[in-house]
């Protein structure tokens, strides 16, 4: 039973059989499009075998870019190499868009099906020679009958991807790696962003706690109003106290207070001192006026 419900075609250098018009198809490569070597190696898994394929097949291959496949057949590992460019050229020659290829299979994967030769074109057949599917001239068969290639040749498993969707600008493997990296970045950025949001809510919590103890301050309008009221009072009262402190310091150094008046926003004090000129500068906010007769007047505003 085939493992896929997609149409299967046999692709040879000269073309493909049967002609299928589908958006997605599986392709079985004729031996003309791949190089094969069988080795009885102690390898457990196909992916390990696939990694070894370049080394196994090295001496059999020409220059060029190859892709590799490996599968086990009758306790023997079969290593396969194919040129994607060659496969794509053959697909295009057959009028098939490489992008519509779902999976690639190798004729060797269905070797037993080629026991009876399969006609590829008017001059060529595929036949089993020594257990290996081989391209043969039809003339060698003489009167031997041939079969037609059909869906029953579909291997049970082991297909490989053509590698790159040729309408794509990026290879599958690179696309997956890049996508994973981008998603990881996105997640990390998201986590970082959530951390910032959490910090923000923590900050708000401190203010909320403060306001819960002073409920009257919850409204900005109330806060502004209270602040305005107390700030004005604070400024004015501090000015009055600063003035009184300066007057007091003059008295402490021998000055005699004659009068002092703090009323409204004006503060005035008259003092008798021994050397009026030494009191020219007391505090930047207080004006000192010489009144004669050793008297000075200190004046300030709120």
């Amino acid at each position: 039973m085939p493992n896929s419900n997609k149409g299967l075609i046999l692709l040879h250098k000269s073309g493909a059989v049967p002609v299928v018009e589908a958006q997605s198809i599986d392709v079985m490569l004729s031996p003309a499009l791949y190089t094969l070597k069988q080795e009885a190696l102690e390898i457990g898994f196909a992916h390990q075998a696939k990694k070894l394929a370049p080394a196994v097949l090295d001496e059999l291959l020409d220059e060029g870019e190859y892709r590799y496949g490996a599968f086990k057949q009758n306790e023997v590992w079969v290593f396969v190499a194919y040129k994607p460019s060659q496969v794509m050229e053959a697909l295009r020659r057959s009028g098939i868009e490489p992008s519509s290829v779902h999976k690639l299979y190798f004729a060797q994967q269905s070797a037993e099906m080629f026991a009876t030769p399969i006609e590829v074109d008017a001059h060529t057949v595929l036949s089993l020679v020594g257990g290996v599917v081989t391209v043969m001239p039809k003339a060698l068969l003489g009167q031997q009958r041939t079969l037609r290639f059909d869906e029953s040749f579909h291997p049970r498993s082991g297909g490989v991807s053509l590698g790159a969707d040729k309408s794509s600008l990026i290879a599958t493997k690179e696309a997956i790696v890049l996508s994973i990296a981008l998603v990881v970045w996105g997640v990390l950025f998201g986590i970082e962003g959530m951390g910032y949001s959490h910090q923000k809510s923590q900050q708000t919590h401190v203010i909320d706690e403060m306001l819960s103890q002073h409920t009257v301050l919850q409204s900005q309008y109330t806060r502004d109003s209270i602040a305005q009221k107390y700030r004005k009072r604070d400024t004015q009262e501090r000015a009055k106290r600063r003035f009184l402190k300066e007057v007091s310091s003059v008295v402490r150094y021998g000055g005699v207070l004659q009068s002092l008046e703090i009323q409204g926003e004006t503060f005035k004090a008259i003092l008798e001192v021994k050397t009026p000129s030494s009191y020219n500068t007391i505090d930047a906010s207080i004006k000192v006026k010489q009144l004669g007769n050793n008297q000075i007047q200190l004046e300030a505003n709120a």
């Binding site: 997605s24 992008s99 794509s168 997640v187 910032y196 306001l211 602040a227 107390y230 700030r231 402190k245």
Partner: protein
Amino acid sequence: MNLKHYKLEIMVTLSLLFAVLGYGYKLTSHARLESSKEALATTQKEIAQIIALQELWGDKKLTQKLKGIEPLIDKSKVSSFKLSGKKLTASFDELDITQLNRLSNKIVALAVEIKKFKVTKVGERYRLELTCKW
């Protein structure tokens, strides 16, 4: 157009979009945090200041504390001392400079609003008229 042909580009684009959205979220959260840090620090400072001002200028024990002024001076020198509601009106006569200092230091130390503080020298002594509110 068969979107299937562009599945890799779509996958990478969506991942890129996800990363960009994540980055945008991070930047926005960071900017919000920074601006809220500033705003919250200002609010916190403002609230703390208001609370401090309220506690200073809205001391509920001021009436009691102002009552303590009268005993500082001989009764004979207290011409008037009237505490009504949140207002004190008082006048003192025949104060020497030490007594005047004592009184003014006491008033200055209390968080009251000095409406009137008038000192007049009469001979070698002083007369003090005081009005304050709280």
